[in-house]
């Protein structure tokens, strides 16, 4: 095996110092004239005659990293050929490793939710790029200033690339503490697997314990299909019910009972007051009767983990934001916004709706809810918002209500949409007027700056208005 020294130059990269490295690769800080960001070089341990899956993992990581972009992954710089010196040169991401943070678990619930939301956001961005990480664990998450950054795509799967690694191995690939039940059964490629791992990370952050320990055997890993871990609140009574509900929903054995996607986890972690905690919990089959029944019932492992829902994800947006102006009550435009919202929601039966209305404040820092009359205005608007959405007849775990207080409605809507990974905004537009043309309307600004699709709803103009 090749030995590297500080100062060595490889394809124009100068090695600076060796970083703490894992069992699969050696990591070096490096510099190069060609790149204007800090660099790290990853050299896989490739022994002649060694395990071919190490080389495949290296090759897949290079192929996948090359195809990824955005703040949640290290930037790809270059790679060295297998025939000479194989390496992947990528951005060095400075920040706190989640592995360090998790050593101080249990953490305060707000902190757990904050970190969880950061990771959920990174997962949403990754899954949108058709990649499933499949080895999400604290060591692979850097909490950088810009965002949570995911590392190590050596076990990852890209939906548009062949899974050379999966076909290679019949043993489950992943980390024993965080691997999902379907991965244990050899399935690779479902984004829901990353949500399971996220649930395990949140569990550990909130309780200080790993839900399944670190079983060393296949049978040990498989136990998670049949035995639910202790409920988080049994370990730490300070964990609020909403956080426990989020964690357990991520960790459902049956994937179809987990969150539909990372954006939904993000939304729940950011809006604890909207989490439905009365969801049925997975009840461990305990007691003598259940034990006897289980003796005679030989459950099929595949049926326990349910079916993948990922094919649905392309059908439409997973979170829809409907922005409705109720300042003058529910008018014709508001009901037209409702109609359009119903159309957008219909593309997917599992989409969520965030109903947003803005309570305008005159100056920054003037919170209308600060006094009694302000609070009553807020509550009145919330009631109106719920009444507006009522004809949609959505179950409570698919809808949330948000009365935002802001100087600029457009900024409030945009900010909410970006924070909650909204996939589609529906917003109304008033008929054109001199003042609107001068100041710019809410909808114009939303359309110009939104990071997702926007439907603008306008009432069909009546002839005489046009003149």
């Amino acid at each position: 095996m090749q030995r590297f020294e500080p100062g060595a130059i490889i394809d124009g990269f100068e090695l600076v110092e060796k970083l703490p490295s894992g069992g699969m690769a050696e990591l070096w800080r490096a510099t190069s004239q060609q790149f204007d960001f800090p660099l790290v070089l990853k050299f896989p341990f490739l022994d002649p005659g060694g395990d071919v899956s190490v080389i495949l993992g290296f090759e897949m990581e290079e192929l996948i990293l090359k195809r990824l972009s955005g703040p949640h992954v290290p930037r790809f710089a270059a790679s060295g050929s297998l025939a000479r010196i194989p390496y992947i040169a990528m951005e060095f991401v400075a920040g706190r490793s989640l592995a360090g943070v998790i050593r101080d678990a249990p953490q305060a619930p707000d902190e757990v939710a904050r970190i969880g939301a950061e990771i959920a956001k990174a997962l949403a961005a990754l899954h949108r790029q058709k990649v499933v990480h499949l080895d999400l664990k604290p060591e692979n998450v850097i909490l950088a200033e810009r965002a949570a950054v995911l590392l190590d795509f050596g076990l990852a799967r890209h939906a548009e690339l062949p899974d050379l690694l999966g076909a290679e191995s019949s043993v489950p690939m992943g980390s024993a503490a965080y691997i999902s039940p379907e991965q244990v059964l050899g399935e690779r490629g479902d984004p829901a697997s990353d949500l399971f791992a996220l649930g395990c990370i949140l569990y550990k952050l909130a309780t200080g314990e790993e839900p399944f320990g670190r079983p060393a055997t296949f049978a040990g890993m498989k136990r998670r299909l049949y035995h639910a871990p202790k409920a988080p609140r049994e370990i730490n009574g300070a964990i609020p019910r909403w956080l426990e509900a989020i964690i357990l929903r991520c960790m459902e054995v049956d994937r179809s009972d987990r969150y539909v996607d990372a954006a939904h986890v993000l939304s729940d972690l950011r809006n604890p007051d909207q989490v439905v905690v009365t969801r049925r919990h997975r009840v461990g089959h305990t007691g003598a009767w259940a034990a006897i029944r289980n003796l005679f019932r030989k459950p099929d492992d595949k049926s326990l983990v349910g079916r993948s829902k990922s094919s649905k994800l392309e059908a439409g947006p997973s979170i829809v934001l409907a922005a409705v102006d109720l300042a003058n009550g529910s008018d014709a435009l508001a009901s037209e916004v409702l109609n359009e919202t119903a159309h957008v929601l219909a593309s997917r039966e599992d989409s969520w709706l965030a109903c947003v209305t803005v309570l305008k404040t005159e100056i920054i820092g003037d919170a209308p809810t600060a006094d009694e009359s302000g609070r009553s205005a807020y509550l009145k608007r919330l009631v109106a918002l719920k009444d507006w959405a009522r004809p949609l007849h959505l179950p409570e775990d698919r809808i949330s209500y948000h009365v935002l207080e802001a100087v600029s409605p457009a900024d409030a809507i945009l900010n909410y949409a970006e924070h909650n990974d909204v996939g589609h905004i529906v917003v109304g537009a008033r008929a054109s007027s001199a003042i609107r043309r001068h100041l710019g309307s809410v909808s114009t600004k939303v359309v110009a700056r939104a990071l997702c699709s926007v439907s603008v709803v306008r009432l069909k103009a009546i002839e005489e208005q046009k003149r």
Binding site: V52, I55, L56, E59, S81
Partner: protein, 246 residues
């Protein structure tokens, strides 16, 4: 270098023209015609003459089973194929038949082997429809890349040393990387008679610098081709299948 690989044109002038145009637009350095220029379709003379021109300009061209059937006047095929083959033979002049008869069964270019059906006994026209057939094809050659057609359904097989090949269904117009570790069997979809449910003409574009292959899909006027098939009294199913891509 960019290599455009066209298989199973099957005398479909409309599809052939749009695919050649698409290959030109993408800056192709090398053109390969992977067999079955004729059979099924209504424009054998046009396609053979065009292919002969392309070969004069440096294109590679190999023989397919329909080319052989026309050249040798053989009839051991399905009913529709036999009818079309006999009809084709009647339309072609001796010079066209001679061109088909002289095509080689396979060609090697650097580390790439081109063969219409399978590298396993090329003249037997075996179909590669599963991993076992792919395995036998791959073990019949040492080439890093084998390109076949014949099934009219695009597919990719990755062969790691000492292991069963791994199947991958390439997506339309999305580049798939070759593996540094693998040998590869690329089954190119059909230009003139796609059978994977997508009626758009298909050809493979290989980029040797980027180490990847794409199955490029090009829609064409299949109604015109079907109209000619009907006008010449060829079996109706041959026109219908162009519309549905089966």
């Amino acid at each position: 270098m960019r290599i455009a690989i066209l298989s199973d044109v099957h005398a479909n002038r409309e599809a052939f023209d749009v695919v050649l145009e698409a290959a030109r637009e993408r800056g192709t350095d090398q053109l390969v015609l992977l067999g079955d220029l004729v059979g099924y379709g209504p424009d054998p003379v046009y396609v053979v003459e065009k292919a002969a021109d392309l070969v004069d300009q440096g294109a590679l061209c190999i023989m397919g089973n329909h080319d052989e059937a026309v050249a040798l006047n053989r009839g051991d095929m399905t009913e529709n194929a036999r009818v079309a083959s006999r009809w084709t033979r009647e339309r072609l002049a001796p010079v066209h038949v001679d061109f088909l008869a002289r095509l080689p069964l396979s060609l090697q270019s650097e580390d790439r082997l081109y063969v219409h059906a399978s590298a396993e006994r090329p003249g037997k026209w075996l179909y590669i429809r599963d991993v076992d057939a792919a395995d036998r094809c791959l073990s019949s050659s040492k080439s890093r890349f084998i390109f076949c057609g014949h099934t009219h359904i695009p597919a990719l097989y990755y062969a790691l040393p000492g292991r069963r090949p791994i199947y991958f269904k390439p997506l339309d117009n999305v580049a798939v990387p070759f593996s540094i570790l693998s040998r590869h069997l690329v089954i190119v979809g059909a230009v003139g008679q796609p059978r994977d449910g997508n009626p758009a003409a298909c050809f493979a574009l290989v980029d040797t610098e980027r180490h990847e292959v794409s199955m490029i899909r090009v829609p064409y006027d299949h109604e015109e081709t079907a109209r000619k098939i009907a006008a010449f009294g060829l079996p109706a199913w041959l026109g219908m299948r162009l519309k549905i891509g089966r």
